[in-house]
Symmetry: D2
Subunit: 331 residues, 4 copies
């Protein structure tokens, strides 16, 4: 393949080309009319078994950013940071209120703490389910948008993937490939870049892999010490061009370290989040956002091993369209 | 060891014995004054590496009950079932409201769905952190209850264990040992029963194992088709007696298929949830509740293999005292 | 008029009659195409000025049931009881956590308490706005249901009535008329009953009055000491027949002491909540539910004065379809 | 009295003076040991009856800012803007999802909309109850802070005042007195200013009045078109000096058009929100914040009548420490 020696601007794709891609990339019907998993079908008992062999040192990396009241959300798309509200706490224990409120005044020594969480399921590190994106009233596998009502998603929801988000993970560290700390907003990662990364990193992609693409966008946040416009705003990310590589390699799911995964400004002038539409609606590709790949990337750079076992199972929300996750990479 | 051939009632333990146990079982200081992990410290890179070898078939089992508006909570301890509230849905897409509400009326084809979740972190399958239980104003490792205020747990919280709840899992199927579908409320599982189960199941416990104890209480729910008093009420569960076995075997964490893990009615007349106090406050033992062990138990019975790789990582709530989880067992 | 000397069963109305009523009762266009207030337009500065003259003793009655975690909701229609979650409390003050969490550790003497409320706006005493009911895709004044999206009601919402729910109130105490404690589920209150009540109570209805109809259903709850099926289930209430009387008298709004206002079982076999449809969608009549009329009714019986000043203003939720209220009657 | 011809800086009060004021202003015990109402006791049937006579034109003014997702909160003190989440909407009606989700697929024509609200009770226009402020572990009437636990306020809460926040209202328009649009942050309103305002406005204060003090701070927001630092930040407001005037006049409650009511920077260096402490904890004075006084002030200026009937009843939250309100002024 041809090396790309300089940073390319994200490509501009015409509406006509976009329409052609909806047909060329479509996986509708590939796994049957009833399928709700899309490319997660590439994960099989065989691929999981093989993935376990990636565990060599027993090192564990959590790839989630903390679910924290202070960030990263700032209201874009109606998202907010998790609210943790205590229903029983240590103050109740010390003042004796616990005893009155919960034990009917009986003299007991035990107190427990408890809490309620309020959060958007896409507020932190998460998977989008295949019910997250709708294109002209239709979802993945040709289902009507009416399947997602005020009570949630009857089809294509996150529950379907409860046993399907584990397997072999591969990190592709794009800024490292370019010898820089991070990509800039607007830089789109193409099929060529991804292929180049596998070559430089000496890692082969296998069917069913979950590919984590590092843009360094989160590293920039950590460096500057504030979230600022991380959650919504122009960002580096996957180019529509990358979908060919993803499809050809039978990748099961893709995650990045940005808020929105795809390069922004968007590549199709007329279409909002066009990569999401092609990936989720037409390919049935599960997308992950806001993965913290920093510690893992340092470790991979240190031992030159970019594959690992990945457990990134969602919470099984009935009818949910997404789930917060704590993806665990084990090397 | 001596086999126990009939079901024993849960033992009654005096307050004096209980006080002695708080001293005998205590792990305070064992891993240093700053420790917030307790027995999860038994999980090491070596134990994780060894755990991965349990993956032989690549079969994946989700051990979580669905996070569902219909159950299992019924208000006990202020718990309620998860509320999933859509902030963008398919109806908005079809009526054109999405376009007006979110895209400023611009003519676009893309629509996305989104949602907010409200739930108690202990409402479904979950881990209790070491900040969940307070005994006479003190938490694990001698910390003051004042560390858990209305803003959450400054110490001993769930965030500490974000990379520590993965390793080798072992299922001990107690009703199967007794040739019945499930234990009855009030039946307490002792050290003897646990040891007997390992012998019958031909599985050896290793340091750092996460032990999942099946009581069949959830099987009874599934059989009768309604949650009824599953969430709060008398239940079978671990006896305080079992803590010796757990301590001796250096178990990292314990989970069961009941709402409250320990046998109820409680075994110490004067103390509410006495097993929780001894386990969490004094041993620093992480406890898991409402694991769905049914499919896993059937598979283990079928191939007579009761150990597996377990990924049961919590969501990384800053200051959280618990976390919903989707534990994944892989055989 | 003709007195009705015995309890009548609620009437059965054919679908054809129902369709005729949608035309006969319709107020669409009466106050202009842009109107969002419906019969609340009957409230005018003149009627408010006159209403103030009802204040003779200065006695104040709150007509709201407490917003309480214990009732009355039990899950019907997805309703739940209010959750009050403290974000700062007295325990934080006493333990010193407040100082650390909110004042950066500075030595201060002041502490404040704060809380978050989560509730359905129709969970307790409330007004339905004209955006609450949709009939065959249309709302009051012919507006499309698409005006009520996941972000709320763009038209016909509760905000419109923020200055319009005050005026003269009249209590019509139907069980008193019948010399009993309360009506039974299924008993429908007709135009004849309402007229009879005004005569027995010697009160004249004026244009713009807010009429509160007591069924005694809440008295039965108070007597038996539990909410039971108060919130959803068969109930006494207004009969469709009553709409003629309401229309003729130019009543501004109607409230009752039941969960659902209209008699249940419903009077039109094919139509769910048919009174709501006719009243809200076609007449533009604001409906109030779960008013506690007990203390007020006792006082009115004592002094034989059934009219009063009523301040029942909603909270001004932008785009809300209902609002909890604390209606204040002043005699 | 002496006119104040120029703007005075807010006074600096020593800790010693502050301590003396806690004694001098204290109303503890004045209305009995069990009292939870404080100065709201000044409102009596007689004062309410007299207040009704203020209604002369029948003009109604809502004094609440809308409960809106867009403002005014910006995170200070953990406050956020109301979240209105639809549980049933017009999209469900149009797509037919409503029928499936709520009516079991039965063919019906009726659809209803419903919603859940999540909000801090002090996020918009609201009353603080006497449980809102704690000084050195003690609340109004000498009650322990332990009465406000994670389940809410057992004493001094908002429920107590459900029938007590109606009566005669008086607007004192301070910037008008000074011939300017609004006061500046840091400008403190003294007893002298309040007295001067009553003279200029030709209004006499009576026992039991609810006094609304306009600073113009909200007018400045409306002029500039953005909330900016309205919710938290330096502000004009009542000076501690004003408490003498308030006490002498037996005012029942005080509200202003600012986020925090009292002048900021605070007047006692060592004490956070010192006016709140003196007013709420020691006087038992109910305070109201974020009242929109603009339209009312214009009307009062036009007809030179600054008194009116005021219905500002709270929602009856069991154990609540505050309540959102929609105060209605009627002239």
């Amino acid at each position: 393949m041809q090396n790309i020696s300089s940073v390319m601007p994200s490509k501009s794709i015409s509406l006509e080309e976009f329409r052609a891609l909806t047909r060329r990339l479509s996986n509708w019907g590939k796994w049957g009319k009833e399928d709700q998993l899309g490319t997660l079908n590439y994960i099989t008992p065989e691929s999981v078994r093989a993935a376990a062999k990636e565990v060599k040192d027993g090192k564990v990396f959590s790839l989630a950013i903390p679910l924290d009241a202070k960030g990263p959300q700032r209201g874009v798309a109606g998202r907010f940071n998790p609210m943790l509200l205590m229903t029983r706490d240590g103050g109740d224990a010390i003042t004796g209120a616990y005893q009155k409120d919960w034990l009917g005044g009986a003299e007991k020594e035990t107190r427990s703490t408890d809490e309620v969480i309020i959060m958007p399921t896409q507020g932190g590190t998460h998977w989008d389910s295949l019910a997250h994106i709708i294109h002209r009233d239709v979802m993945y596998n040709g289902r009507s948008a009416s399947e997602v009502s005020s009570t949630g998603a009857k089809k294509n929801g996150i529950l379907a993937s409860r046993e399907k988000s584990v397997g072999r993970g591969v990190l592709l560290d794009i800024p490292r490939l370019r010898n820089k700390g991070w990509l800039s907003p607007g830089e789109g990662i193409t099929s060529g870049w991804l292929e180049e990364a596998t070559e430089k990193q000496a890692v082969k992609i296998r069917q069913g892999d979950i590919v984590l693409v590092r843009t360094g966008h989160l590293a920039a946040v950590q460096k500057r010490g504030e979230w600022a416009d991380y959650a919504g705003g122009d960002q580096p990310g996957l180019s529509i061009d990358a979908l060919d590589w993803i499809a050809k390699n039978k990748v099961a799911a893709v995650g990045t370290d940005t808020w929105g995964l795809e390069v922004q400004p968007f590549e199709v002038k007329e279409i909002h989040i066009p990569f999401h539409v092609l990936a989720i609606v037409y390919m049935g590709l599960t997308l992950g956002e806001m993965f913290d790949l920093e510690a893992l990337a340092r470790d991979c750079a240190a031992d030159a091993r970019y594959s690992f076992f990945l457990a990134a199972q969602p919470l099984p929300f009935t009818k949910g369209v997404a789930s917060p996750i704590n993806p665990i990479a084990i090397k």
